[in-house]
Symmetry: C2
Subunit: 244 residues, 2 copies
């Protein structure tokens, strides 16, 4: 295990960051019917991890999350939400036990989990000086992850799926116009299960967020499918409405 960068950085972290608090970002990307998550691999480790970092002493924690994600992925303007806090004993200490002189990483960290669901094309993964890979990986074929990062990812995915049951999604993830099967496919991909077509249609129409276009999609040998677009105003309203 080679750890030069991390050793050098330890003193710097003590100077500029709050101890004991870290941030991990679970960024889901939807593209070509695949739900992916942004992962990175440190030069110093064999396994993959979520993009994470620390909170500067003079920085609000939400700003820190945005900065961390930007530094690790080149993605800005991403709306990140807290979905959990992970603070069992020894969750990070064990991982860093082979870094004997690095007091920064050997301290106990409580990590705050942030998540977002974005269009793939918004994000161009970049590596920084600690990482040698930063990539999208499909959630149904993930490598072994460090520390409790698999648990963190699972919780984020559960939160995303829960959100799907009471909020519309799809805006910014689908093209401007789309067919009902395309929208259903987005939901199925996130939920990881097939849905009944009739039930899906009925439930999605209840949100009152779709506008059916006059013209069906052109081309193709079969009956041209109906096209829809989101009604932006009703979509925003549905985001803030409760079902009751």
């Amino acid at each position: 295990m080679i750890v030069p960068d991390i050793l050098d950085a330890s003193a710097e972290f003590w100077k500029k960051s709050l101890p004991h608090i870290s941030i991990d970002c679970v960024v889901f990307g939807f593209h070509a019917n695949s739900l992916n998550v942004l992962m990175l691999k440190l030069k110093s480790a064999d396994n993959w991890m979520l993009p994470g970092g620390y909170v500067n002493k003079n920085e609000a924690i939400n700003d820190a999350a945005k900065r961390v994600l930007f530094e690790r992925s080149g993605a800005d303007k991403i709306f990140l939400n807290v979905f959990g806090v992970f603070g069992t004993l020894n969750r990070s200490e064990d991982f860093f036990k082979n870094y004997p002189d690095d007091l920064w990483h050997k301290q106990r960290f409580v990590t705050v989990g942030y998540y977002a669901l974005v269009d793939h094309t918004q994000v161009t993964p970049v590596t920084d000086s600690y990482s040698d890979k930063c990539e999208w990986m499909p959630i149904d074929n993930l490598p072994t992850m460090v520390m409790d990062h698999q648990e963190i990812l699972n919780k984020a995915l559960a939160t995303l799926r829960e959100q799907l049951s009471y909020k519309p999604i799809g805006y910014n993830l689908l093209p401007e116009t789309f067919t009902m099967p395309e929208l259903q496919s987005l939901y199925e991909t996130i939920l990881g299960q097939k849905l009944n077509r009739g039930n899906f249609y009925r439930k999605i129409m209840r949100y009152n967020i779709l506008v059916k276009l006059d013209e069906p999609r052109k081309g193709g040998a079969h009956k041209a499918p109906n096209l829809y677009r989101f009604d932006e105003e009703n979509y925003k309203k549905a985001l803030n409405d409760f079902n009751w």
Copy 2:
């Protein structure tokens, strides 16, 4: 402003607690058609606050939340959930600026918000050496709160209301048998708005969590109302089901 206890405690906190991280608990209690929140008043402050505290160095953060709530309210066995993290700059520093020698409280704190919804009768509020009052207060008539505690409470309430739109609630909050108007009243109290009776009935029946009893409620001059109880198995299933 009198601050003897807090000053004395500062050294003790440094020894046993993680710096920079605090916990605040928003405990909602339902009783007699009122939604209340557990609040306390420090001896050293004029305004009220949420029950909060710090994480011991050798303690998982979820255990810390339970302990903090127990110490401040006498309530154990309460299932607390993280709903947010509050970490803007100066959120707590300003409040403690009049405690000149207390370095513990003058540090920057990022606070983790935990919430629960409980039966009033489960909790007997107790005061500790720092507080002179610990009481249930109705959410529609709250006193001025310290720091960003009003914002923390608002976020917890929004989370509870959101949860109501995709998960059943009521188990442990209502008596074993109840009428449909009583269940509706619980929902209305939490949502802070009146609901249409027909819509409520239709939506609640969709969960498939209610069992109608053969015998209506006895007594009273009017037509005896139907009684319901929760189907425990279906209720648990609905808690983990997604609507899709």
